[in-house]
Amino acid sequence: MKEARAAASAEDICKAASEWLVKRHDSGEWSERDEMELNVWLAQSSAHSVAYWRLEDLWGRADRLGALRRSAPEAEPIRSSLMLRMAALLALIIVLLGGAGVAAFIIAPQSHAYQTALGGHRAVTLKDGSQIELNTDTAIRVAERGSGREVWLDRGEAYFSVKHDDARPFTVYAGLQRITDLGTKFVVRRDSQKLKIAVVEGYVRLNASDGVSHQNAAILRAGEVALATAGNLSVTNQSNAVLSEELGWRRGVLTFHHERLADAATEFNRYNAQKLTVVDPSVGRLQIGGTFPISSVKEFAESAKEILGLNIIRRGNEIIITR
């Protein structure tokens, strides 16, 4: 450790730290290998850690500059060609509403169940080396057979990093949708109203989960996000940076860009027993940005107070944000 310190000047270390930081947060290219190499570099010397944290802290603070800009963000363009491809699928989904999910549940072979509580985060490694990361309040069941691998996402959100095998398809059932891996990393989030599938790497095939509708299958590519509600399905494109921020929970952070305060509060409430409440809709529509540790409810409320000029009231396990 001492040698590393003596060998490099503070300036060199600071430069190296800034390169790591920008690669990690801004380049849109960050692999698990990079993460490992960064951790090795950080562990090499206290000077490395300290220099990195200092810049990381500054860079996080600089996100607040974005909160000053109040104009509405531009909507991501919806890919119309894909919309057409999805129309047939959508019709099928409506027909199948109510039946297929239950069927998938009944035919489940012997399976293992995993879950997380509020605020939980857990990784499951399957026999084949595929990995599943469970976000807060999530329940899955997994069946691994010779003929294929199946996962039922019963509630919550999970990130899948799949070891692709043509002979043993990897399929995720979530409500009425069936997602089949075509060599990939993707995340599926299910709540009562909607299902969201975002593809980080590779491709997935999306079907209604009746098992016969291959002709209606849609292929989602890396960067595409499908959002399905009972009567609607849309696909949008998102940049790597946005996708990686949406997966911030894997690193323990939440990132917002021009997020409505009400939506940001809902997001925090997914993870924490201490709840944020925004009563006034005009307050809920104010926009905020920044990156926050998932458990930093209090700090988030303080930031909202400070940046947007609001007040906060603490009542038991609740923080009310108001004018």
């Binding site: 310190r5 430069k15 380049s27 850690s49 500059l65 540790p293």
Partner: protein, 196 residues
């Protein structure tokens, strides 16, 4: 089937890092980093060159951090200045040049620097203002890249297209930007008061 791993929340370096290290990091950011302005001012008074001062500042951080791994110092400020003073004295011994009056000045420096504790709200407001001022002081193209990234939220590729430069150059602007901002905001906030 299976290995499972429980992650601790609030760990910015992904899975598996040490929670004790994370607590130490939070302590460092909360207690030590805000003292950088005072520390740098103190080190600058030694009349040493810029890169030597930066090295000294880094050495102070490393020593404080390594001592904190054994036990968190409390209170922090006098501890940090004691470390800085010792490091400076070591350097002077090596140089074998001792300007007596300078040493005497150091002895009282951090006490004189102690002001009333600022309200956190005031600090947050002041910090945002400082950041904006620091941003204005960045070189033009560098500032543009930082604004496109941090304010507009564009990806590196989008920034490269917008500015008509290579993604590699965007990286160079951003890495320079974050270092320059940190040096101004943490290390030399006085520079931000002088230039509006």
């Amino acid at each position: 089937m299976t290995d499972t791993t429980e992650f601790s929340r609030g760990n910015p370096h992904g899975a598996g890092a040490d929670p004790a290290m994370d607590a130490l990091k939070q302590w460092f950011l909360r207690e030590v980093l805000p003292l950088e302005a005072a520390l740098m001012q103190f080190l600058r008074r030694s009349g040493r060159g810029k890169s030597e001062i930066e090295d000294l500042c880094q050495d102070v951080y490393v020593r404080v951090f390594e001592m904190a791994q054994k036990q968190l110092p409390h209170p922090v400020r006098p501890f940090i200045f004691a470390v800085a003073r010792n490091l400076l004295i070591d350097r002077i011994r090596k140089d074998q040049v001792v300007p007596i009056e300078t040493v005497a000045e150091w002895e009282t420096f951090d006490i004189a620097f102690e002001g009333p504790g600022l309200d956190r709200v005031v600090i947050a407001r002041e910090e945002l203002r400082r950041l904006q001022t620091a941003l204005d002081l960045l070189p033009e193209r560098c500032r543009e890249a930082v604004i496109l990234r941090k304010v507009e939220g564009l990806s590196r590729r989008e920034i490269a297209q917008r500015m008509g430069i290579a993604e590699f150059t965007v990286n160079a602007h951003l890495t320079h930007g974050v270092r320059a901002l940190a040096d101004m905001v943490y290390g030399d906030p006085a520079s931000l008061r002088r230039k509006p």
